[in-house]
Symmetry: C3
Subunit: 315 residues, 3 copies
């Protein structure tokens, strides 16, 4: 595996979960792999979990880490080719990316959907320029359409808590004040499709995800029906794909409350965080003993370390 | 010692000073202790000395270090429980803190008084949430009411320069254009109370510190009288505790000048820095050979390393 | 060599290039030198290449690294002595610098020309305060008048690509929308003067560099004439030295185009980056196989590591 931008690139999810289990039990066992190797983590957007868990994962592997917040302390970057650069942008991605490549052995990139053009976002313009021009292995720390390190941590968390071979997992849309990208739900759908779980997506009309991510997956516009018998509830907001980037609804009838959780089979609650309390989920649900949001976040180190280890092994 | 938020938690100051002396002479002797341990330093506020000296201390101990500036590159954090999070804050401390706890072995927190509510500040709302929810040992890198790493460095510096067993130490208020927290003077009073020094606090009326920090300590409103025969002058501004957070005076008659220093017994000058020159202290006093501000700042590494070492030993 | 602020301090350029070659071939060979040593990198201005390449160089040498962005997360710094500090600046450089010195073994400083006073800029007020007050070896990561790490990387790149003992190197001014410092061209002129190359500077009238940097060097106001027979074209914008800090021309007739490059002897193209495309240089020239901007940037690690190694050897 040279680049890691989608959970599908793992090939065998089973093997990846086995590798993750090993990493979790032996976090410091592979420091020879990372010695004198540098991970460069490039952030075009905010980050808490990804920033810390990926640093931690790289250090566990004995790597050197450099963090670059592109919008703090570096230069404003031009992304369009052919432009006469007489404005406020001092540097072009076409130089900045290969330069970063010179200083790193692997590059992590966070670059959210910008909602200016569905085509640009779904073509992963920024991430793909890193792959094309950096000359180094690139991994996504959440790009415009996917967040595969999150998905790997999510599935690992489900695997650790499931009590049946084929649990029912419901990913439900929930309300949020602002337009959020589809990266997490797309990626979760992609990952769950690789499991044998009974997987259902519930969202209001107008919020269906891009068809390439939901092909063959049950989608319903009735949340209550979906929640029935669920073993895991994965809540997430996203903006509309069809009316791209629009907030069509803030319907608090979709908030995950204890009444909603009562419809399930005593389900666990999952969310990738950060979460808007009392919009996405009520205080009592997220604080309940069935909430897995913290172990799920803790598994972000394991997911990042598993992937970095695979990338180091391929160098 | 699990958490370190007050100099009083040291129990024996004498033992701590002995430990500090060892650390200063053998800065790299304990790297086995820190190996594969991660210190997460969380800043809600600006920092120069604390940021650098704590990183240095952790690295001297062989630890990995991650620095998080909460207001740069992370998410705006909600602190009130029960809020419908439909505003500009994307994440709740109740999630952010345990998440940070997952990625660290010890957590340093800088969180200044906000002067919105004396009760909230004096209850150390932010720091205590880290203690309650992170699941990890927490140390203060200056909180709302105390700055114990500073105090330890201060006392260490006095110990290194005193020429009598029981020096006279005067902490004097001095003018400043803005409202500053009471953390440093509170903490210094707390620490000096553990020594056998002759300790006096001088401040204008209306500037008495909170009674729990000055119990049994001599407080005067006459600076000249206090300075008489002093061996050490510790200058500091703070806003009023009684009229909480107010600037009641900018009286330049309290500035520490060479005329004021002439009242002392050729005293050393101390200040925690950053210092406003020619408000708190004149150029000539801070630049004089009796000024200890730089060795005092250098001792911040020793203080942080002493505390981190104790915390590592308790893990 | 205690401090490194000018390429002239290298004494023998030949020896330095030999040392650089060794470092490039053996990047991890000298980690014993840097063990338990801390490099503090202080940025008063933006940086991408310098930030990453200097961190990388220090880590290659086994050092600990701390990065301080003065304008992010630290305190606003006063630089004038004698001021009553009652404004928005909380700390004076006269304290901040020796404090930083306490926490570091070597200090890198980036501090651009501010264009408020030619005298202040050309006296290197900030950099020299670090040298005077930090108590530690200081190296320039681009100061007001020179960028010697860049120059060393530039010459190394020319050495690696030249096909004659005495190549013709042309440094040409090119248009830019904003006023840029003269540090890079000054420093390049200073460095090239130490080589045996045929060196020519081409710039419009009013753009002659400070005489101390061009003494004995060919300067022409005719770009086409200069480019004739060139083996290397080094493009760079700078603001006027004579009418200090002014932008006197944005003449796109000085942009480096393929027509201009056709005048040369199939020259290589160099630029320190960041570069404004289609102002300084056209897309086709910078993307051509004769463009060396990326290997030149890669050599920044080598340059920084060569200098840091020399500084460590002198500790």
């Amino acid at each position: 595996m040279r680049h890691f931008t989608s959970i599908r690139q793992l090939g065998s999810l089973e093997e990846a979960l086995k590798a993750a289990k090993y990493v979790k039990e032996n976090p410091f066992a592979d420091q020879a792999l990372g010695r004198n190797r540098t991970a460069l983590l490039v952030f075009f957007n905010n980050s808490l979990r990804t920033r810390l868990s990926t640093q931690k994962a790289a250090m566990n592997l004995g790597m050197n880490v450099m963090v670059l917040d592109v919008n703090q302390g570096a230069w404003k970057l031009e992304t369009e080719r052919g432009v006469v650069m007489d404005g406020d942008k001092s540097e072009h991605l076409l130089e900045a990316i290969p330069v970063m490549g010179c200083y790193a052995d692997v590059i992590g990139v966070r670059s959210f959907a910008r909602f200016q053009s569905r085509e640009d976002d779904y073509n992963e313009v920024i991430l793909n320029q890193f792959i094309q021009y950096s000359g180094k292995p690139v991994f996504s720390m959440e790009a415009a359409t996917r967040h595969p390190l999150q998905t790997l941590a999510d599935i690992l968390t489900i695997e650790e808590h499931k009590t049946k071979a084929r649990p029912k997992v419901v990913m439900t849309w929930a309300p949020h004040p602002k337009a959020l990208p589809q990266a997490v739900p797309n990626s979760f759908a992609e990952g769950l499709d690789m499991t044998g779980y009974d997987f259902v997506i519930a969202n209001p009309e107008g919020y269906d995800l891009a068809p390439e991510f939901t092909r063959g997956i049950k989608v319903t516009h009735n949340q209550d029906e979906a929640l029935e018998g669920a073993d895991f509830v994965y809540a997430k907001n996203w903006a509309s794909y069809e009316q791209y980037g629009q907030v069509l609804s803030k319907d608090m009838g979709w908030t995950v409350t204890s009444e909603k959780m009562a419809l399930t089979d005593n389900a666990f609650f999952l969310h990738c965080l950060p979460v808007r309390r009392n919009m996405i989920v009520t205080d009592d649900v997220i604080e309940s003993p069935r909430s897995l949001v913290i172990p799920e976040a803790a598994n972000r180190v394991v997911a990042a370390q598993t992937i970095l280890k695979m990338m180091l092994e391929s160098l």
